[in-house]
């Protein structure tokens, strides 16, 4: 029998970016808030100080900061005819864990999607005709426009201190920025990071071809910055240990460096760590959440009642929570009805490996989001007529580090062992560069999440089952983008170029991206969405879902910027509308 705890106004599941921002916003509104976090408490000086954080074996290989598959994992299959098997060792994606969540160990690339990305179905239909979108493609418009989100992007970027160069200030295209981006009300809060050799060569070559290069919007501080909550971040030291690592010198935006120092002193906030929420409880009507049940590290069960439940965990953990709690109708791929688990999407990563003569790349001088990008082949920035696919990728030169175990680029025909391998690695370290492209993944009838019929987690709930494979649209897009990327590699003076387009089938190894999206998508229509434009559950209006699970499909960018803007957008609606009159914020 679960031990009942004193009532709270708000319970937050997961204390990462969205959980910490919502906790800050709602404690600021005077509410009594508890965040329940599955992983451990983490702070910079204790858990990842500069002296120990650059440990590639511990963090990159042994994944010290990540969710353990023994805590929970997913099962995976490519299509409904297969039997899904549990992912027992992370590969293709690695969910975060602990206070700060993935915000601790991300690289820090903080984009806004293109204006047309938020109106995708309408835009493509208008430009290419109403029969252009294939039947099995279930893409849909966001229920919010870029213009509606713009103030909230601005707020999020100023919280994080994003470094970059504006490409469109209030509708006026700016030199040096991304000319394709939507209008922004203000310049980035910090200037762009200084560029190492590789990305400088990439930008120069891209410009010579006629593309528009711009600095990656980066959460690696180009200078010391005091953010909107009064928290100060330090300047990035270019140590090259961002992704999968905590930042030791307060130079990468994270809940730890941006929110928690301002949040934790608040007396109306409490964080409970090493506590795993096992379900959201509903009252007898099934229309109202009464709180959550969770289990602490000693497997003692508690019930935490609350007026408001915010699901702030990683995307597929959020979908899992809704499914095991019976919130919303599960998606049925056969009939095409139901919504929870529908429109799971991902990221199409493509790459080109290039050997550059007479260079010393010094890849150890780097930051996770330090680099240059080109957006000429992203979204619908180029004419897709006759190409046979939609979508695109941001093409980028971001050398996130020169870490010895995993970050020496190599070609397929390089020796794999012995003295030949050693010679190649020595040679490649300073001369071989990896260009990347992060591409969109559209949503499809047969790409979805549901509960596994066989495998259970340690708390007795079925694991989440992922049914996903690459579709022709994404494979064609990847091949096209890879070709364009190779063109830039040639212009860089590459003497050996290897193209690495994405190939089917999808597999959970090797690592590709942790930009898993969808499954609890937002929309204007309850028959095709789980939450409304304010991220509020259609079925249980005192439950809100945050994070990339609400994306109707994924764009050719990192998701964190949009996640942050949607969070602030919803926070405003909750504070200014919901709290005054709890109930559905959008009438059906």
């Amino acid at each position: 029998m679960a031990q009942k705890l004193p009532h709270k106004d708000v319970v937050i599941i997961g204390l990462g970016w969205t959980g910490s921002i919502m906790a800050y916003e709602l404690t600021g509104a005077g509410l009594d808030v508890v965040a329940i976090e599955r992983g451990a408490w983490r702070d910079t000086a204790t858990d990842f100080p500069p002296a120990t954080s650059p440990d590639e074996l511990r963090y990159q290989i042994r994944l010290d900061l990540f969710q353990r598959t023994a805590q929970s994992t997913v099962t995976m299959r490519n299509n409904a005819s297969q039997t899904a098997l549990p992912v027992r060792q992370w590969g293709s994606f690695i969910p975060g864990n602990g206070v700060g969540g993935a915000g601790v160990h991300w690289n820090g690339m903080t984009f806004r999607f293109l204006e047309s990305d938020y109106q995708l179905r309408t835009h493509l239909t208008q430009r290419y005709g109403k029969h252009a979108i294939p039947d099995n493609m279930t893409i849909q418009d966001y229920p919010v426009t870029y213009t509606e989100l713009e103030p909230y992007f601005d707020k999020f970027e100023k919280l994080l201190g994003i470094c970059g160069t504006a490409g469109n200030l209030n509708g006026v295209i700016q030199p040096g920025g991304n000319p394709f981006e939507g209008p922004r009300r203000s310049e980035y809060p910090n200037p762009p990071d200084r560029q190492p050799l590789g990305s400088t060569m990439f930008a120069k070559a891209a410009t010579e071809i006629g593309y528009h290069s711009f600095p990656m919007p980066s959460a690696n501080m180009s200078r010391s910055y005091t953010n909107t909550l009064g928290v100060t971040l330090g300047q990035c030291s270019f140590c090259g240990f961002c992704e999968r690592f905590g930042c030791g010198n307060y130079a990468k935006s994270s809940p730890q460096t941006c929110v928690l120092p301002a949040l934790m002193p608040r007396k109306n906030f409490e964080a409970r760590t090493l506590c795993n929420v096992t379900r959201i409880n509903l009252d007898s009507t099934g229309k109202k959440a009464t709180g959550v049940t969770y289990v602490d590290e000693h497997m003692v069960e508690y019930e935490q009642t609350a007026d408001l439940v915010l699901v702030c965990s990683f995307s597929f953990n959020a979908v899992h929570m809704l499914l095991i709690s019976g919130i919303g109708t599960p998606y049925d791929p056969v009939s095409g009805t139901g919504v929870v688990g529908r429109n799971y999407a991902y990221q199409t990563d493509s790459g080109v490996t290039v050997k550059l003569p007479n260079v010393l790349l010094n890849p150890f001088i780097s930051g996770g989001a330090v680099g240059m990008a080109v957006d000429d082949f992203n979204g619908d920035n180029f004419d897709h007529g006759g190409l046979g696919f939609f979508g695109g990728s941001v093409m980028q030169a971001t050398q996130t580090g020169g870490r010895p175990i995993t970050q020496i680029a190599s070609f397929k025909d390089d020796p794999k062992w012995g003295s030949g391998w050693k010679r190649a690695m020595r040679e490649n370290y300073q001369t071989v560069y990896s260009l990347g492209a992060q591409g969109s993944v559209f949503s499809y009838k047969d790409a979805y999440l549901d509960l596994d019929p066989t495998y259970k987690d340690p708390y007795g709930s079925p694991l989440l089952r992922m049914t996903f494979d690459w579709h022709d649209n994404e494979l064609k897009m990847s091949a096209y983008i890879t070709e364009k990327l190779a063109g830039i590699a040639t212009a860089m003076g590459g003497t050996k170029i290897e193209q690495l387009p994405r190939l089917a089938p999808y597999t959970v190894v090797p690592y590709q991206s942790t930009h898993n999206t969808g499954g609890a998508v937002m929309g204007d229509d309850p028959s095709t969405s789980v939450v409304n434009k304010y991220l509020q559950s259609w079925d249980v209006p005192n439950v809100f879902v945050f994070g990339a699970a609400v994306f109707p499909q994924n764009a050719g960018y990192n998701p964190t910027g949009t996640v942050g803007a949607l969070t602030y957008f919803a926070a405003d609606a909750i504070k200014n509308q919901y709290l005054k009159n709890p109930g559905p914020l959008v009438a059906i």
């Binding site: 702070d43 910079t44 000086a45 204790t46 100080p49 500069p50 002296a51 120990t52 010391s224 005091t226 909550l229 009064g230 928290v231 100060t232 971040l233 330090g234 300047q235 030291s237 140590c239 030791g248 010198n249 307060y250 120092p261 301002a262 934790m264 002193p265």
Partner: protein
């Protein structure tokens, strides 16, 4: 909670009563029934209690406010901060104003027993009785908390309170209320009053003789207290407030941070409970007075040569372990990473705080206007020789000067 709010007349009556009773300070005057204070007295008392940092010794970590139990380590043994909530049995609920003033201003306890100077009455002596009564009124307005504290945990013979009569003759000037210096500005005088009186800064920042009295002639020249440096507050290039401006000092007191430093250790508590609660005008007044303190006149040490083996080794360790945050010029990052260049903590004659920070790390104070960062611990990573070398390097680089650190570091 007691019912607040009577009239200003009641307060005036209390004050008159006190004046009569002050004459009989050492005698067994019976406790009087207490009137309750009005809201403005309570608010004024709360502010004065913050200026006096009463919470530092009377509010235990995680404990009820002013319910006592804070351990105060002295060279003579342990004292516990008493319960000063208005609880009748275990607090000061049955104390009269005059008894309160007698204790705080004169070190004479409830039943005539002498207090130990862990209670800084030798400084509070300068605070007018009217201000102390307001503090009493504020404390009376708090919820009573039952928490029995035996303050005197000292070993024999120091546990004999009678000895304090002799100590007072030696070290308690009992000069009474602070007397303004007419040659100085009102702000300077306000600062001097706060520093010398309620602020009791000298309790930590003036070194003590073998009997625990202030070293005369060494006021505010710094001390080592409870295994931490209370840096000098005098003004000379290599010591004390040195390169800090009045605004730097005021910002540090108000927010725990300025462009050079962040507060950690005992001073972090002072900032949390006291100086951050004061108006910026009062913190600026304190800064104005402190910045007027003359240099100690002690000769500055000569820096150790850059090619000394310890300096060379320490420089390599610094580049590996320290420069990512404190940077190669030792200037740190304003509001985040303290500057090591010009730091009084770094250049202290006996740099216990610096060595403790390297060994064990430290948490910066967080205030409403500036959030906290932290220094990681290097005790597990660096051996004694390495710590000694890097400390020697830091103490003698960028214009710093300090003696070489021997490798017999206490862990």
């Amino acid at each position: 909670m007691k019912t607040p709010g009577t009239t200003a007349g009641a307060y005036a009556a209390r004050l008159r009563m006190l004046l009569i009773l002050a004459i009989a300070i050492a005698g067994g005057v019976p406790a009087l029934a207490q009137a309750t204070g009005n809201q403005s007295d309570i608010a004024a008392g709360k502010y004065l209690a913050a200026a006096g940092d009463c919470a530092a010794c009377h509010t235990a970590p995680g404990g009820a406010p002013f319910a006592g139990g804070v351990v105060i380590n002295t060279p003579f043994g342990k004292l516990l901060g008493s319960n000063i909530t208005p609880d009748q049995a275990t607090g000061i609920g049955n104390w009269s104003d005059d008894q309160f003033v007698a204790a705080v201003k004169y070190g004479v306890g409830h039943h005539g027993a002498r207090l130990y100077p862990g209670m800084p009455y030798i400084y509070f002596n300068k605070v007018p009785a009217a201000d102390l009564i307001k503090i009493h009124i504020y404390l009376e307005s708090l919820p009573p908390v039952s928490n029995r504290i035996v303050s005197n945990q000292l070993p024999f013979p120091y546990n004999i309170r009678l000895l304090m009569r002799g100590w007072n003759l030696l070290f308690f000037p009992n000069g009474g209320d602070y007397q303004p210096d007419p040659s100085q500005s009102a702000m300077w005088n306000r600062g001097a009053y706060l520093v010398q009186g309620l602020g009791h800064c000298a309790a930590c920042h003036t070194s003590k003789n073998f009997l625990g009295g202030d070293h005369t002639g060494q006021e505010f020249q710094g001390a080592v207290i409870d295994n931490a440096n209370a840096p000098a507050l005098v003004n000379e290039p290599n010591n004390g407030l040195g390169i800090w401006s009045v605004d730097d000092v005021a910002a540090y007191l108000k927010t725990g941070h300025n462009r050079y430093a962040g507060a950690a250790g005992p001073m972090a508590d002072v900032i949390t409970y006291s100086t951050s609660q004061l108006t910026l005008a009062d913190d600026t007044a304190i800064a104005t007075y402190l910045k007027s303190l003359p240099a100690s006149g002690n000769p500055a040490p000569t820096p150790i040569a850059a090619n000394d083996p310890a300096m060379l080794d320490g420089g390599h360790i610094y580049a590996d372990e320290c420069a990512a945050c404190h940077n190669n010029a030792g200037t740190g990052e304003a509001l985040l990473f303290p500057a090591l260049k010009g730091s009084a903590v770094v250049q202290a004659a006996d740099p216990v705080t610096m060595l403790n920070l390297i060994l064990h790390g430290g948490q910066d104070v967080g205030t409403q206007s500036a959030a906290a960062a932290a220094m990681p611990a290097f005790g597990a990573e660096l051996n004694n020789q390495q710590i000694a070398d890097v400390a020697t390097y830091i103490r003698n680089s960028w214009g710093n000067a300090g003696s070489a650190i021997p490798d017999d570091i206490t862990r």
